[in-house]
Symmetry: C2
């Protein structure tokens, strides 16, 4: 029998403990042995839980117990999760985590520590909840090259965007609705300003390339400034606005960003609604593969943790690629100013004729948007570098109400 400990008895940690009981037979088959949760570490007590007698408050009981083979870390945040995870790895215990912030910020050192101690540091649950995304990239695509990943990585913002479109409501109204339904937190900053998606695209970039980039190098744009006029324009262009995290290989480096984009209706990402997540991976051999599913939730996320527990205990993780990451060398992330996009631009406070004439002069072959409302000018630019586009936008007459990149 393999004994494990769960650190953090919240939504995900609680799910892991109950799944370990309920799916005992399947877990035994997949990991090659019975798996038993010996300790649950939390600051709180849970007198009414059937697992009350396993709850402890001192992490050293776990670290110093040679019976513990694996630690599940579902605390979230950097401190004290980093110290606890490091100590567990140094003690020769596998660590499985759902903590995307820790993986994005300290995954590189934790994986190195795992490797040095002959154990695994696994993080399937940190991106895409129950979508078996990371393992797919690390196993099935092991003999292929992932050249780009583009995805809807945050369910809260996707719910807001879906409601803005279907309900014709403002960002603020949709956010309030998401908060009422428990899809958005009281402080929704990490979701709406793109930081959650930023951590996830950092992790996916590292899974695909073996290189973890710095947070500061990932261009990240909030989606909180989107208006119903933007959503409507996307609809008239035959697509939908989505918050897209993306990485694209460029030469020896990568271009990485998180920003709202107008996704064309022919792209399946445009049809991913509500709290669903979806990730499209482009590879050199298989073309594009898309994964779609619930990106969060107690059981999807706990299920992803369990799949890592079995991969660690069975030794299956040893054949996965990019078991350790490197820190990004200087220049690995291309400056966002050089990245190229088509852009949707809306201008008011000037005659439509004047704006369109200026647009043609500044941007070249612009495309008109069907059904533009009276009083504003709207157009889509050809593919342009960010820097050049910014200069041209500054030179437009009237008030630039909105600039949105296309995908």
């Amino acid at each position: 029998m393999k004994k494990i400990a769960v650190i953090g008895f919240g939504v995900v940690g609680g799910g892991v403990v109950s799944l370990t009981d309920e799916n005992a037979a399947m877990i035994r088959e997949a990991s090659g042995d019975d798996v038993y949760v010996k300790y649950i570490l939390d600051l709180r007590d849970f007198p009414d839980s059937p697992y009350a007698d396993r709850v402890i408050h001192d992490v050293n009981i776990i670290i110093n117990d040679p019976e513990i083979d694996l630690v599940v870390e579902t605390m979230g945040g950097v401190n004290p999760a980093l110290a606890f995870s490091s100590a567990a790895l140094k003690a020769g215990k596998h660590v499985v985590t759902s903590n995307k912030e820790l993986v994005a910020k300290h995954g590189e050192e934790l994986m190195r520590l795992a490797d040095e101690n002959g154990v695994a540091y696994l993080y399937e649950a940190s991106v895409g909840g129950g979508i078996p995304l990371i393992r797919s990239i690390r196993t099935s695509l092991a003999s292929d090259t992932v050249t780009a990943v583009r995805g809807i990585l945050n369910g809260t913002t996707n719910y807001i965007l879906t409601r803005m479109r279907d309900g014709g409501i403002s960002f603020e109204e949709a956010l309030a609705e998401a908060q009422q339904l428990g899809y958005a937190e009281k402080d929704p900053s990490a979701d709406i300003h793109g930081f959650d998606a930023q951590r996830k695209i950092m992790i996916l970039t590292a899974v695909a390339t073996g290189v973890i980039v710095n947070e500061a190098d990932v261009y990240t744009e909030t989606m909180s400034k989107l208006t119903t006029a933007d959503i409507d324009a996307a609809k008239r262009l035959g697509g939908a606005v989505r918050l897209i995290g993306s990485f694209v290989r460029e030469g020896d480096g990568v271009s990485v960003s998180v920003c709202p984009r107008i996704v064309d209706g022919k792209n399946p990402l445009a049809h991913v609604d509500d709290v669903y997540n979806a990730v499209s991976a482009v590879t050199s051999l298989t073309g594009d593969v898309m994964y779609y599913g619930r990106g969060a939730g107690r059981y999807p996320t706990a299920g992803a943790v369990i799949s890592d527990v079995t991969a660690a205990l069975s030794g299956a993780y040893k054949t996965e690629s990019n078991r350790t990451w490197k820190k990004a060398p200087a220049g690995f992330v291309r400056p966002f100013a050089e990245s190229k996009n088509r852009m949707y631009i809306r201008v008011s406070d000037a005659s439509v004729q004047e704006v369109m004439d200026a647009a043609r002069l500044l941007f070249g072959d612009v495309t008109e948007v069907p059904g533009t409302p009276a009083g504003v000018a709207e157009f889509v630019t050809p593919i342009l570098a960010e820097e050049a586009a910014a200069k041209a936008i500054a030179a437009l007459p009237g008030t630039v109400e909105s600039v949105l990149r296309l995908l």
Copy 2:
């Protein structure tokens, strides 16, 4: 160095040989050793190929060569692929295949043979081309239960359906176009009558349940009778017609079928166009996960073969679930007559009023279809068992032009 042989030097086999050269470094990393194609077995000679000197015509050279660790079978068809694969497994060589017919019909005995000889029989390339579907189900979902799989498993018919909708053309015209483009074969029977999708859903059912069902137990309906009126009705219902292969767990057994269905626009399968494939897997923990990508083609399929080659040579396959299959016990597949669906029905040669009155009497709470053309009656039934629906349909006045199940 690991030496392998490729049996069948066609589109996929040729892709495997060239990828093995071109991706040597990645394959070495994933499989733990260099991989070299020592023999290529084919009836033909290829004097102009850079691999001409490796082409042989006698399979026994491969079987009797102790240096050969693995055989890639990309011949297709049952004979002589079955005999060659059996002989290779008995000689202690791994076998990797892209041959869905062989896997569906004889996978059970070949996997047993592999297990008895301590080697792998792997078939990722047999379903969904480059989509890493089978390995995802067998590894990431190992500790979960797959309760249903529904998918677009055939690219040719999906192309035809996309063109019928977008071009407003008939089935025959769309088929002719697909043949001109090389998407459909001269004899398209296996695609359009659903046999190709049937084999694939048999394989996916076995991957998920460990039980391989009989061909004869899979209800399979041709899509060649679909008309532009059907496609148009699906559009008016807010969806699209797709050829859907599906399996659903029911009690101790499964319900398995292949038939054209009207897929609701909220289901991402409705937006899978052209030659793309997509498979939605419902699991008890993670909810629904969808995989989407190119279901065929030289490099996607060869890439899937290579992923199996590395899984076999590295030993990674040992931790995958359902390594052997069981034959379906009697009663495992539920009779299709008992399966329940909502149905779209179109009737002509009778007054609309008369048809709708009869429909309400026979089917209960039917739903009208928006925008029905003059002269026909159209409605959608509540959920009904096939047997009861057939009786009610027979009792309708007029001519029943079309019956299509909804998904």
